[in-house]
Every structure is written in structure tokens, then in C-alpha cells.
Chain length 189, copies 2
């Protein structure tokens, strides 16, 4: 395949879209990001990359906790809004119904089908534009109608993703195949 | 919304699916993972989480380089295969057409529409099952037919994602909305 060089860029396509929640000065705040990834299976850990100086960061540091909230398509406007407007200018604490789990200081969004409650493990400064907050996922909270057989139900959750190529949100399509299975019979020609 | 607790888990839904490439003992090897995320916009940096003891890890350490290759739906069987079978048992160097970029030691998959060429910046041991390799993305390589206006074209790339809830791959659906835009007019009721 003929290739062209597009320069250095952040074209991991697509990325998840999540709202990071934290208590800032005692008030729930939520920031939408796409820079995040699981970094350990056991114990379950996740990282979120936040631009330095974000309002949310101080709250994560102060409490040592944060949440990762996965929105459904229906929340796309509210989700985008929380990525545009800073909590330093607008009070986002009333945008959603907020609940707390065992850590008590990680605010979570009731309207999101899935919520990961995290204890801060480490903050990483790589010298670039962002800081990386690594958290252990201590509990998963899910809306009862978004659970099937004790696990989240991706089809009803209807998560969406971010594409850095066109700065757009895309929905999920069809389930294509089982992982760790569809490739079992693969042979190269 | 009534919530239930599902326990600690890695339910970031969905996650990207990529093949991590490295030269191991001078031979190209590719490992499929879903634990990855962008961690800095400038300079562009990405992290990949690899289970400790992976064959690929030694190659990344040895050369200080790796690649992140984004497969299209058509490569789903080969992609899954590279997540099932270890390079310590099977020679994966002939599965794909391999090319190199400016770093010279980060093997990339020609059949993948998009390739991120990375210089290793840091390796992180969080004490869990995985190690985190952080790389600076020094170049983006794209198939000419997958580029539109100097940027990758998500629709033709046809990436797919991993859902940890059902251990399945899902395709992308429709473009839903412009990011940093659709939420501009959002008001809460």
C-alpha cells in the first residue's frame, strides 16, 4: 500500500469519550476528554490525560479520587458542553444528578449508563501539554437497565467515540466478531 | 437512574484496537491490544499497556522504538490472531508487508491504513499485571487512499473497537456530530 506522511499527530482513531468527575472546592465538576486508556487488568487501573491547568486537576489532587463516566448517545450535547466550558467559569454541578460510591469524594453522573470510581495512584508529567492521572478502578456502577448477565450491555449503553481526524463524534455500529476467537483459524494465504 | 455495583473491572467501553509493532531479535513482531491512549497533544504522545512478560516488550526496550498500527475491519481476523498467538511461538514477521520510517527500527504494517511511529519515552510499572510504554509519535503514515485533505479519513479507514463487556469487536457507525460544537447551545432544561 502506498503511504504518505502526515507529520507528528495524535491520530489514534477512534478514542473513547468520557466525562472525568472530581470534587473541586467541594463542588462536583465534570470534564469531557478522549485521552484515556486502561493500563492494568489486575488491579484494574485507568489513565486519563488532562491538559495542564485544568480546573478538574486540582480536585483530583485534593481528594485523591476521580470518576470516569461513560455517556450514551443521548447525552452527546451535554458531553460536548462539558468539554467546551471550564468549571472555573461555569458551575457544572447542577447539569446532572450526582451520586457517590465507596470513596465518597468521586462524584459520578447518574444519567451516564456506566461509571468507574477511581482512587488516584499516580500523576505523571511527561513534559508535554498534558498531565496523566492514573487511578485504580475500585468499583463499577451501572444503570440497572444497562446490565446483562452481571456485565455492562454495550448495545443498550450506546457509547460513542471521538475521531481526531475530523474532530467528530461517531456512534457504534454492529458487533463484528468475538475477540480471542475470530482469528483462531487465521492463516496468511 | 437506579444503579447496581458490578465490582472492580476494566469497563472502559469501548477501547481502540491496535497492533503494536516492534523488532524482537531483529525480527518484526506485532501484538494486538486495546489498552492504549493518547497522553499528550504536544508533543504528541501515546501509551500502550502490555501484559508483563510479553514477547514484544523486550523489543521495545532494546530499540527504544515501537509502532501503533490501526487496522481496518478487513483485517479483523489477522488482528485477532496477533492477540491470541505469541511471537515467542509463532513467527509473525511474514503475516504482513512491513515497512519502516525515520526511526528505522519501528516495523509498521503496510496493510493497516494508519501507522503511528513512536520513540520510547518512558516505561511505567504500576505494580499490576501490565507495563505501560509511553512513546512520542514522531510520524504518522497513512495509505494514500485513506487520506482526505491532509488528514486521515475515518470513514474509509473503517477502524473497529473492542468492547470489554462482551469481549467482542464492534464496527463504527454513523458520524453523529461535530465535537467542540454540538454542545455549544446546551442548556440544562
Amino acid at each position: 500500500m502506498k503511504k504518505v506522511r502526515l507529520g507528528a499527530g495524535t491520530y489514534l482513531i477512534p478514542m473513547p469519550v468520557v466525562l472525568v468527575g472530581a470534587l473541586v472546592d467541594g463542588r462536583p465538576n465534570f470534564l469531557t476528554i478522549a485521552y484515556c486508556g486502561v493500563v492494568s487488568y489486575k488491579p484494574p487501573m485507568i489513565e486519563v490525560g488532562l491538559r495542564k491547568g485544568r480546573y478538574t486537576s486540582a480536585g483530583i489532587r485534593e481528594n485523591g479520587t476521580f470518576s470516569v463516566n461513560i455517556p450514551s448517545e443521548e447525552l452527546i450535547e451535554a458531553t460536548d458542553y462539558c468539554g467546551i466550558v471550564s468549571g472555573s467559569k461555569i458551575d457544572k454541578s447542577k447539569l446532572f444528578e450526582v451520586f457517590y460510591g465507596e470513596l465518597e469524594t468521586a462524584p459520578m453522573i447518574s444519567e451516564c449508563p456506566l461509571n468507574l470510581e477511581c482512587r488516584l495512584v499516580q500523576v505523571l508529567d511527561l513534559g508535554g501539554t498534558h498531565e496523566v492521572f492514573i487511578g485504580e478502578i475500585v468499583e463499577t456502577h451501572a444503570g440497572v437497565e444497562y446490565v446483562d448477565g452481571g456485565r455492562p450491555d454495550t448495545e443498550s449503553i450506546k457509547p460513542f467515540v471521538f475521531s481526531a481526524s475530523d474532530d467528530s463524534y461517531w456512534g457504534l455500529g454492529e458487533k463484528l466478531a468475538e475477540a480471542f476467537n475470530v482469528g483462531k483459524g487465521f492463516t496468511n494465504g
